[in-house]
Every structure is written in structure tokens, then in C-alpha cells.
């Protein structure tokens, strides 16, 4: 009796790609703190910078975390998927 989730192809490449992009943007965020603080908190039209960044991080890191749990075999109930 094997693990049913392991019978499907795991998204290794996708997880790796999104993971690397995620690490890159977080590394930029942490290494360029002064530059980011100086520009992102200026208010007014600069408000688009933090909002845009939030969308970018959610897309990249959200894709990575989704694949991350799939790789670990943590997926939605099969019964639930069938019910859809």
C-alpha cells in the first residue's frame, strides 16, 4: 500500500524555480533596506511601490509555498477533489 500522493508527478522544477525567485526578491528586500525605506515610505504616488511589491511577493512566494506543500505530500483531501 503506497502513499497515494506519491503516485503523482511532483512539481520539483516549478518549486525550485519559484523558490529561487522568492529567495532573490527576499534577499533584495533585506540587503537594500535603506534604499527601500527611502523610496517606499514617501507617501502619495509612491504608495504604488509597497502595494505593487505586495502583489509581486504574493505571486512569487505564494506559488512557491503552494508547490512546497505539494512536494511534502501535503495536499487537499482526495474525497474533496472528487466532490468538486
Amino acid at each position: 500500500m503506497g502513499d497515494y500522493s506519491s503516485q503523482k508527478k511532483k512539481p520539483y522544477l516549478a518549486a525550485l524555480t519559484w523558490g529561487m525567485v522568492s529567495v532573490a526578491i527576499y534577499a533584495t528586500l533585506l540587503t537594500q533596506q535603506d534604499l527601500i525605506n527611502a523610496n517606499f515610505a514617501n507617501g502619495g504616488v509612491y504608495a504604488f511601490l509597497p502595494i505593487g511589491a505586495a502583489f509581486l511577493f504574493s505571486l512569487v512566494h505564494g506559488s512557491f509555498t503552494g508547490h512546497f506543500w505539494t512536494l511534502l505530500g501535503v495536499e487537499a483531501s482526495k474525497k474533496h477533489k472528487e466532490a468538486k
Binding site: 500500500m1 533585506l30 527601500i36 509612491y46 511577493f57 504574493s58 505564494g62 501535503v74 474525497k79
Partner: protein, 361 residues
């Protein structure tokens, strides 16, 4: 609202311990949010303030992590067929209007009675709302569990069924989560009230989810998932408003988001393994525990307003720490219940599949 230049100058220095702390808090908050549609904000803001982040920056930065988190969570739960996007958007927009109105009430209370008056108002509202709503949610969950009805489809409340029968021409909209039509003349005020209370107690989901379940007749699973759409709409509008004033510390928001996106995916997956009443169990439990946390602070604010005898500084500090500890405990307990329920559901499914395998072959 504030001085833009000063806001940026007050942004804190981030070291490894701070980053790790924010990541972990984000993960736990995300886990609970993915499951019940909200939660975490009540810990996130004080957690940031405990690091020396000014109050408004903490609120703004929390909000700016909330909307991208809710976006990912709602997309995930939409894949499981749990999201009513139309209802989420209608309620989200009307809630946003409620937030603006609620914030103006807050400001006028603050202008008239100062910080202590404003804090007292928020705490009393928090305790009363959470006692009534949280108590009812928990009571309903316990009743379902004791009645052995956990597998049965949820029954609409009489109020929800009645509201759905009222036909006001030109205002009726079909909502898939209710599998019925309801007048927007009911949904818009409900959304407005949700937003108004959200502006007061800072956790809109504690009002939004129960109002969807008990007043509109939305099943718990869909209510908690659609709440994520509301959180996205409200969070986006709120974040933009704060960002226009330079109050968002994007580093804090994105570090919390880093943890919370791991958590929210897990919490969303968890909903596919549990029975709907578990949403009420987690939500009701957190709400009832958190109300004690805020209740503890009421004597402090009463003393600051000279309505009772002064409280020693050490006692005030102790009450603040205990209050924060209770909030953190509530969130951790919620996360524990989610993970436990998910693990049990996963194990039961594995056993069922194994039995099926034996029977068929």
C-alpha cells in the same frame, strides 16, 4: 494623519531574531486565517509594537501583509469550490465604507477622550462583541458536536431563511454560497456593519464570518473562504490609504507574509479534511479566549481616565504582558486545533483508501 518623513525615520532595525520572530508569528496567523478566513491580526499588531514599531505603522504594515495573504488564500480555497467571489466583493466594498465610518467614530472618540478613552471604547466593544458572537458560535459548535450532527448538512437559521424569502424587486442578487437570492439592501448594510466593527476591533472576520453563517445562511466552509475575499478587498483599500501616508514598512509586511503564505496554504488544505463545524470550533474558541485578553486591560484604561483608583505601573505592565500572552495562546491553540483536525482527517482518509484498495483488489 501623520508626518510622512517621520514615519519612515521610525522604521525599526531588523536583525535575525526579529525576522525569525515575524516569520513564525506570520506562519501561525496564516495557518489560522487559511482555515477560518481571519485571525492573526489581533496578535500581529501588538507583536510588531512589542518590537518598538509605532502603533500606526504596525497597523498599516499588518494590513499590507493581510491583503496579499488573503489573495493567495482565496485563490487556493476557490480551487476547492469554497469561495463565493460575488458575495465577497459585495461585502468587501460595503465593509470598506463601514471601515471609513468606523474610523471616523474612533477619531472623534480619541479627540474627545484621548488615547485611554479610545482604548477603553475599543476594549469594551471587543469584549461585548466577542462575548456575544464568539459565545454563540462556540455554543453552536458544541451543540452540533453533542447532537451527533457533525456529518449532516448545515441548516440555515430561521433569520437567514426569512431574509432570503423577502423579495425586493430590482435589488435581488443570486449568491451561489446561499444557493438563493438575497436583496443587496440586506447584504450592503451587513457588510457596512462588519466594516464598522472591523475598524473598531480590528478583526473583521470575527463579525463577517458569523454574519454570513447566521444572518445570510452561508455554510461555514464557504463563509470562512469568502471572508478571505472580503479581507483582500478591505486590506487592499486600507493598505493603499496607509501607503499614501508613507506608513507601511514593507519589510515588516513582506517578512510576515513570508511565513503567512506557508501557513495560509496549509490552513486552506486543512479545510478539505474537516467537517464544517470545526470552523466554528476554532473561531469560537479563539474569540472567547481573546475577549479575556482585552478584558484584562479595561481596568488599566479606567484608571488612566481616573474612573477608578490608580493602578501601579508594575501591575499595568503585568496586565499588558498577560493580555498579550493570552492572545498569543489563543492563536497557538487555534493553530493546534487546525493541525490536529487536519492530521486526523488525513489519517482517516488514508485508512478509508486502504480499505477500499483491499476490497477492490
Amino acid at each position: 494623519m501623520h508626518d510622512v518623513v517621520n514615519a519612515a525615520a521610525n522604521f525599526i532595525h531588523l536583525d535575525s531574531a526579529t525576522i525569525l520572530y515575524l516569520f513564525v508569528v506570520g506562519f501561525v496567523g496564516g495557518l489560522v486565517s487559511g482555515f477560518i478566513g481571519s485571525g492573526g491580526a489581533f496578535v500581529m499588531t501588538p507583536a510588531m509594537m512589542s518590537l518598538g514599531v509605532p502603533g500606526l505603522v504596525a497597523v498599516a504594515s499588518n494590513m499590507c501583509h493581510k491583503f496579499p495573504k488573503a489573495l493567495i488564500g482565496s485563490i487556493k480555497r476557490a480551487k476547492y469550490g469554497q469561495v463565493d467571489v460575488k458575495l465577497g466583493i459585495v461585502l468587501g466594498i460595503s465593509a470598506e465604507a463601514g471601515v471609513l465610518y468606523g474610523a471616523s467614530i474612533q477619531e472623534s472618540i480619541k479627540a474627545r477622550y484621548g488615547d485611554a478613552g479610545s482604548n477603553l471604547y475599543v476594549s469594551v466593544a471587543f469584549v461585548v462583541i466577542l462575548a456575544v458572537v464568539g459565545g454563540f458560535v462556540l455554543y453552536d459548535a458544541v451543540k452540533t458536536y453533542r447532537g451527533g450532527d457533525t456529518d449532516k448538512e448545515e441548516v440555515k437559521t430561521k433569520l437567514a431563511a426569512w431574509l432570503q424569502t423577502i423579495n425586493i424587486p430590482g435589488t435581488m442578487v443570486y449568491f451561489k454560497s446561499m444557493n438563493a437570492r438575497m436583496s443587496v439592501l440586506f447584504t450592503i448594510p451587513l457588510g457596512f456593519a462588519t466594516g464598522m466593527l472591523a475598524a473598531t476591533i480590528a478583526v473583521g472576520g470575527f463579525i463577517g464570518v458569523p454574519s454570513m453563517i447566521y444572518v445570510m445562511g452561508v455554510p461555514s466552509m464557504m463563509a470562512s473562504a469568502s471572508e478571505l475575499v472580503i479581507a483582500f478587498v478591505m486590506g487592499l483599500g486600507g493598505s493603499f490609504k496607509y501607503a499614501m501616508h508613507g506608513l507601511v514598512d514593507i519589510r515588516l509586511s513582506m517578512i510576515i507574509l513570508c511565513g503567512s503564505l506557508f501557513g495560509i496554504q496549509l490552513g486552506a488544505i486543512g479545510t478539505t479534511y474537516v467537517k464544517p463545524y470545526m470552523i466554528k470550533v476554532v473561531m469560537g474558541t479563539i474569540m472567547v479566549i481573546v475577549l479575556f485578553s482585552r478584558g484584562l486591560m479595561i481596568p488599566v484604561y479606567l484608571s488612566q481616565l481616573n474612573l477608578i483608583a490608580p493602578i501601579a505601573e508594575d501591575t499595568t505592565k503585568l496586565l499588558k504582558n498577560v493580555s498579550f500572552g493570552i492572545m498569543a495562546f489563543a492563536l497557538l491553540l487555534g493553530a493546534f486545533i487546525v493541525l490536529r483536525a487536519m492530521w486526523q482527517g488525513k489519517r482517516a482518509e488514508k485508512l478509508a483508501l486502504a480499505r477500499e484498495g483491499l476490497i477492490h483488489g
